[in-house]
């Protein structure tokens, strides 16, 4: 098998492991689904009557970011609890494959939550256009790419669950700008290309630096 093929098979094996674990234990995904719907219900009462679709749209992004945080906080729990991360680091595969596998697994969880959240949002609040959905997709890639690396940092620290949102939220601000802009601005394409730029810049950075986060 070629180098790229081998790398891809490592990545998919790692992502499949996470998905299979989730299928067996159901630790994360049901919590994320329930959380995102509950958040939208809370937002209905938090928004004053007549505050408009734009305000509701901002709330959707808060729901997405916090749901992602919920998933990310548990992203490295199986490795941490089982002490499996050392084994993974010692395994004869590129360490960035561990990051990419985790990013894919978290992306699957987040996408599942969004598949529930977006129709629920359209039902409860306001209709969603295609550009807005494209914004959600692009921002989700960025959230998972950056989030899985930060979650690995947080998992190594004493603070764990407390530290992760502190690390993640400042980095998520550009994603929220891009996502909200794609939804409510008439010039959605600019915001979509900005989200694409963010994804590329931070995915490369995370891919290149992940090795330093997990090696002892």
């Amino acid at each position: 098998m070629s180098g790229v093929g081998l790398y891809a098979s490592d990545v998919f094996a790692l992502a499949r492991k996470d998905l299979r674990l989730e299928l067996r234990a159901r630790d994360t995904l049901p919590a994320m689904l329930l959380f995102v719907v509950a958040t939208l219900a809370v937002f209905h009462f938090a928004l004053p009557t007549g505050s408009g679709d734009d305000a509701a749209y901002g709330m959707l992004w808060i729901a997405i970011v916090f749901t992602a945080l919920l998933g990310l906080a548990r992203a490295w729990a199986p490795e941490r609890d089982g002490g499996a991360l050392d084994g993974l680091v010692l395994a004869p595969c590129d360490r960035s494959a561990i990051w990419l596998g985790k990013t894919l697994a978290v992306l699957v969880f987040l996408t599942a939550a969004e598949v529930v959240a977006l129709p629920a949002f359209a039902l409860f609040f306001a209709p969603i256009g295609l550009v807005a959905v494209a914004g959600v997709v692009l921002a989700s890639v960025g959230i998972c790419a950056v989030g899985s690396l930060l979650a690995a940092m947080a998992a190594a620290s004493r603070g764990r669950e407390v530290i992760l949102p502190l690390l993640f939220l400042p980095l998520a601000i550009p994603l929220v700008v891009g996502g909200v802009g794609a939804g409510i601005s008439p010039d959605g394409a600019t915001f979509l290309s900005f989200l694409g730029l963010y994804d590329v810049v931070f995915a490369i950075l995370a891919w290149a630096t992940f090795e330093y986060v997990v090696t002892e």
Binding site: M153, R158, L166, L169, L171, F202
Partner: protein, 226 residues
């Protein structure tokens, strides 16, 4: 010992230069026709902001060197630069806020892109300290801190773009494509202030580094004794 003497000398120089900068900015530079006396805070606000960027950049550079070639001292250097950057970032927020009150009548204005950017950076680098102090001391902490510091310099342009996209642009622009928008004596004052603040940051960095090194030397000695 010579490094300590140098630092004392540099500190004296920084104090003198800051004094000169204050005199120039408050008494010598001409009054701005539009903004009046409140414009004078610009001579400190902008150099402080530029110095904060420089500190964050140098912190990231040391972090990159740490990941590239290793070396425990680079971790302390990176940390010290980021510490200075956060101090000057907080000062930027304070001086910017004062300026906003004087020229727009409010302490905070979300339309001021630079201020919002500094708020994002300030939050980001505060999290750096939270992360750092929550990790066990050792090579892993050095590397994780370094990676996070590198994310910081990537965040600066990306956030800048994001905030630019998110709002209209009303922050007064001191520099544009046609060069600095000020008279010669104002520009000279600005340069002196910039030099003074940069030197101050460097002295603070040196002092902190000295403290950290003394600290680690002391710890080594104590371990040897016990």
């Amino acid at each position: 010992m010579s490094s300590r003497n140098n630092t004392t000398l540099l500190a004296g120089g920084a104090a003198a230069l800051i004094g000169l900068a204050i005199v120039l900015a408050l008494l010598v530079a001409p009054q701005d026709a539009n903004q009046g006396v409140s414009q004078r805070i610009f001579y400190f606000h902008v150099p402080i902001a530029l110095t904060a960027y420089t500190c964050f950049g140098l912190g990231a550079w040391k972090a990159l060197r740490l990941l590239w070639v290793g070396g425990e001292r680079r971790d302390i250097e990176s940390y010290s630069w980021i510490h200075q950057g956060t101090i000057f970032g907080a000062l930027t927020l304070i001086t910017g806020s004062i300026w906003a009150k004087a020229s727009w009548g409010v302490w905070w204005d979300w339309r001021s892109n630079q201020l919002v950017l500094f708020l994002v950076l300030f939050l980001f680098y505060c999290a750096y300290f939270m992360l750092r102090f929550s990790l066990e001391e050792g090579p892993r902490r050095e590397r994780i801190s370094a990676v996070y510091a590198l994310f910081g310099v990537a965040l600066i342009p990306v956030s800048f773009l994001a905030i630019r996209l998110a709002s209209d642009f009303i922050h007064p622009t001191a520099f544009n494509r046609h060069g600095p928008q000020m008279t010669n004596s104002m520009f000279a004052t600005f340069c002196v202030c910039w030099a003074a603040i940069t030197l101050l940051a460097y002295v603070m960095y040196r002092v902190e580094l000295l403290g950290k090194r003394t600290d680690s030397n002391l710890r080594e000695l104590r371990e040897l004794l016990s």
